[in-house]
């Protein structure tokens, strides 16, 4: 028998997925803007950051209402909890995309280090795809895919380490490159944090399917926030 709750849950689910798509789009744009040094797009990302925050608040409000009015149990409860938790992770991921946009503006016309640019492009692509994949995993309630995405997070961490050592190296060769290097460091760190948040969403997808709270990549590091 279809309940009113089911209709509202379907709507909540659709709103959550839509917010995820928006976050994914913003991340992709922020990465492209960085690589192309496109300050105009970067500024528009910063100006629209509140869209994501507003969606988060609306979704949280709706989940509180559904908990109060329907007192969900079993799978219903897990779906609501998953959305309530994952929505914060998505919002935080969006904040890091905004940080990247700030970095893009700060970077201005500073010199490009080819090898670092290459790494940033690679990390950016990987992160963007990871966000798209986690949304698909959420929509399909696919906990296997969620587990396998944790590997991508490890690869991102690995690339982040490489960016770090290359940046330090570049700095030691040329002290005037200090600001540029710190921006590369920050952007790589932001992308790596997005990977961590996506991994959290993966954990919630596993919880949704199994009821088990798991910690993927508990050793995943590079986590100074």
């Amino acid at each position: 028998m279809r309940r009113l709750f089911d209709d509202e849950l379907a709507e909540l689910d659709a709103d959550f997925t839509e917010m995820g798509m928006l976050v994914s789009e913003v991340i992709q744009k922020s990465v492209n803007a960085f690589i192309e040094r496109d300050a105009v797009t970067a500024q528009s990302i910063i100006d629209h950051d509140h869209d994501i925050n507003e969606r988060e608040i609306a979704l949280e409000k709706k989940t509180f209402e559904m908990i109060a009015l329907y007192q969900p149990v079993t799978t219903d409860l897990r779906e609501i909890v998953t959305i309530l938790k994952a929505v914060s992770d998505l919002e935080r991921a969006g904040d890091h995309a905004r940080n990247i946009a700030h970095s893009t503006i700060k970077m201005g016309e500073k010199q490009k280090v080819a090898e670092l640019e290459q790494l940033m492009a690679e990390m950016g692509q990987m992160t963007t795809k990871m966000v798209q994949d986690v949304l698909a995993a959420y929509v399909n309630k696919d906990d296997h895919e969620a587990r396998s995405l944790a590997d991508v997070d490890r690869q991102l961490d690995h690339l982040n380490h490489r960016v770090r050592s290359l940046s330090y190296h570049a700095m030691s060769r040329d002290a005037t490159f200090e600001t540029g290097a710190s921006i590369y460091l920050n952007v790589a760190q932001d992308l790596s944090r997005i990977g961590d948040y996506v991994t959290n969403v993966c954990e919630w997808i596993i919880y949704l399917r199994s009821g088990k709270i798991v910690e993927l990549n508990s050793a995943s590091e590079g986590t100074e926030d």
Binding site: M1, R3, F5, A68, L69, Y70
Partner: protein, 252 residues
């Protein structure tokens, strides 16, 4: 904007010298579900019964104040209780089908009113039973006794019996408290469908039911209306401490 269909102003009801309703002011817009909640003896069922004059038959009852249905005073000397109960139907706690066939139960009101056109009666039976979400279960047994049905089916047939006379308001007095959880959910689903076409006022002890299905909830205590608001406000952030204590089970 929805229109007011039923209003009560300064409604007092006394059982002898005991004041059971202490000046209730409560209005209902057309369509939607309002749940009346509150502890036993708070006056919610008494209030519900004033809305189609079901308290008239109780000896020693005195009612003051006004109840208006579409601007007409229900307690005016000229008011016709048969007509009132046709426009404002009621479903009770215990399913109470008459000891006739399902078909005869549903058309009871129309037959009393003198309707004899078989085609018309057939159409009303099907439409009412469909609206009450029980048609598929009983369509092949229309001429069997309604008493042979399960409690949940009986209750839905009783809802169909009310619908058959085309009411505008449906009053329900704890319609699911005598039913098992599955039958209760079927009644709830039925009410959720009906709320688009009828004004539904239901008394319930089941707070979860109120929160699940009601657009608006009114909390009664000691013969007074403590608070009425959109259900989500009542359940998430009620204005009165008494409401909060009752909803969260801290009451008493």
């Amino acid at each position: 904007m929805s229109k007011e269909i039923l209003t009560t102003q300064d409604l007092h009801l006394y059982y002898g010298s005991k004041e059971a309703l202490k000046g209730i002011n409560l209005d209902f817009d057309e369509k939607g579900i309002t749940a009346l909640i509150g502890p036993s003896g708070c006056g919610k069922s008494t209030y519900l019964r004033t809305l189609n004059r079901m308290n008239d038959l109780i000896p020693g009852v005195t009612i003051t104040g006004t109840v208006q249905f579409k601007g007409k005073d229900l307690y005016a000397p000229s008011a016709d209780t048969v007509q009132i109960r046709k426009e404002i139907g009621m479903v009770f706690q215990q399913p109470n089908p008459f000891p006739f066939s399902i078909y005869d139960n549903v058309i009871y009101g129309l037959r009393i009113a003198g309707e004899r056109d078989k085609e018309k009666l057939d159409a009303v039976v099907e439409k009412s039973l469909r609206q009450a979400a029980v048609w598929d279960e009983v369509k092949d047994h229309l001429h069997e006794s309604a008493l042979a049905l399960s409690g949940g089916q009986q209750q839905r047939v009783c809802i169909a019996r009310v619908l058959a006379v085309s009411p505008e308001i449906i009053l329900l007095d704890e319609p699911t408290s005598a039913l098992d959880p599955v039958s209760s959910s079927q009644i709830e689903a039925t009410l959720l469908n009906l709320r688009h076409d009828y004004t539904i006022i239901t008394v319930t002890h089941n707070l979860q039911q109120a929160s699940r299905i009601a657009d608006r909830t009114a909390f009664f205590m000691n013969g007074e209306l403590v608070e009425v608001d959109q259900t989500k406000n009542i359940f998430m952030n009620p204005a009165k401490k008494q409401t909060e204590d009752y909803i969260s089970g801290r009451f008493g």
